[in-house]
Amino acid sequence: MDALTTAFGLVFDPYVLAVILGAGLFGLFVGAIPGLTATMATALLVPVTFFMPPVPAVAAIVTATAMAIFSGDIPGALMRIPGTPASAAYADEAYAMTRKGQAELVLGAGLVFSVIGGLIGTTILVIAAPSLAEIALKFSSFEYFWLVLLGLTCAIFISAGGALRGFVSLLLGLVIATVGMENPAAFPRFTFDRPELTGGVTLIPMLVGLFAVSEIFRFVVAEAPPIMVAQERFGSIFRGQGKLIRQYPMQTLRGSLLGTAVGALPGAGADIAAWISYAISKKLSKTPEKFGTGHVEGVIESGAANNSALSGAWIPALVFGIPGDSITAIAIGVLYLKNMNPGPTIFLENPQNIYAVFIVFFLAQLLMLPLGWFAIKTYKQVLKVPRNVLMPLILLFCMVGAFAINNSVFDIGVMLAFGLLGWFLEANRFPVAPVILGAVLGHMLEDNFINSMIKADGQWGAFFDRPIAGGLAAATFLLWTAPLLLRLWRRARGAAA
């Protein structure tokens, strides 16, 4: 109880509240501008959070991402351009509603059901994380080894570019993780005699490069389409939302639960949650023929899913230190920087900080209602910010952010290299998220593997002896062999027919 009281004190501090408000406005702005993503918002925030105490640092990330995922709906509904990939699944549907004169209804639904989805996802996070942490306390290196491997396997199979391309990206991330002296023999691997690399590739310049600089490259070579807003003035966006809540409770709950579950899978974030949720909504709808014509049902379900996915992604991140998506991969980096190392012991050693994170999650969702309303009302003004002026300013911010972590100009070069790598990978349909997952989880995988090998003393059976380790190993092998088994099953069925 003391920890909870302390947590409230940590969050309801004028400085932290100001950070939450500022990060919320920043997230809304970034999400509402087409071409700037929630992941980019997080990557840009990290250099600033580096200088904050742990609670406001995490609060800034949680608030900004929740706001950005919602505000990505605004350009989707008004211009048919999703502000973030998480809104892409239902941008056509939302735009069709705007064309039917229902802009207020769809924008309001996007906001209200984002808040509901976020609140449900957060409730699950609050309930599930401590319970899982109690189980995780019994984990040894064997369980962690299999858990990381299972997580990485999920990331490959769910990745956007297909399993093979996802695997290549992941392996690149694992190779990046091997750079430096953090290995069994403390031998400098792939450091090219650069002292800056002995501690490994610094995470923040890498993230800023992959998620922000690559986006700037894409912007400067694209011929930006003229911005055409379908509607510029809005009436009340909250009118009719109560009726929608009563009309679609099942869809809201289903979207929120599915979003949380998908978010918790490593490699799958808000965008994949929204796509799956929209497809399920259409499949289970009583009126599937209305989908695509400007029907709010799919917007409600997938809008709730993408915001709940954000909370879901924090479950494995906090409990096991395994990120659920690229945003939590960045957040884990911040937690390590703040000596708030994720894992089950954090619930014992720093309960006040964990409770504070939970409170911030609830606060961010509730704050979304007034700030989201404000963002919709002022959207015309937001669009007046010229993107050709914004991008060079973001580039400057990236440069200083990369430098600021170690006061090292070398990190500017690292950021540039990763910016080019991210641009190249995306252009060639290799997903970028597995690179980050591999880079963040590589050490954990190697450490637990080596520790397990030493404990096992050459006996491979030890990797499967403990019940949870054995179960996780079985799940991992099942996932690896699933495509082959499916193919064999289809062939056998085809032959039988």
Partner: protein, 157 residues
């Protein structure tokens, strides 16, 4: 960015895997324990296998694509100049910002890119100077980041 045919993507993946493996083979062994080479070698092996799989998958398709697809923007000099400006700007800042200083690097990077993105030159220059000043105030004065003064050292505060 250039788009490679999957055959070339696969070959490139194999090349990366082979390079990592060659470098990792020179790592020392640790008696009785897996050494520092084990993990890089496993990752390299994975890359080589994935590269071969990409090539095999490509050979099974009948799609005829250019080996290297030139992006359409290379025909637009302004777009090419903007890409070169960013690479040169960040690359040179990485190499020379400590001796030249933050202000010249930042102002040149922002002003040049703004101009290439069709912002009028005088506006670009004003925004460039203002942005460098604001970012310097936030990070140097506010967050105590040691942004280098370089040539402007005599005017440092």
């Amino acid at each position: 960015m250039v788009r490679l045919d999957d055959f070339l993507s696969g070959a490139l993946t194999i090349a990366v895997g082979v390079s990592v493996a060659i470098a990792a083979r020179s790592f020392p062994e640790v008696p009785g324990e897996p050494g520092p080479a084990l993990f890089p070698l496993l990752a390299a092996g994975g890359l080589i296998v994935c590269g071969i799989a990409l090539i095999l998958a490509r050979l099974r398709t009948t799609v005829t694509e250019a080996w290297i697809e030139r992006p359409e923007w290379v025909a637009r000099p302004r777009a090419v100049a903007a890409v070169v400006w960013i690479i040169a700007g960040l690359g040179l800042s990485s190499a020379f910002m400590e001796s030249v200083g933050f202000f010249p690097c930042a102002i040149l990077l922002v002003t040049g890119l703004l101009a290439l993105l069709r912002v009028r030159l005088w506006i670009a220059a004003v925004v460039g100077v203002a942005a460098a000043g604001i970012v310097h105030a936030i990070f140097y004065s506010g967050l105590r980041v040691a942004l280098p003064w370089g040539l402007l050292e005599p005017f440092a505060w």
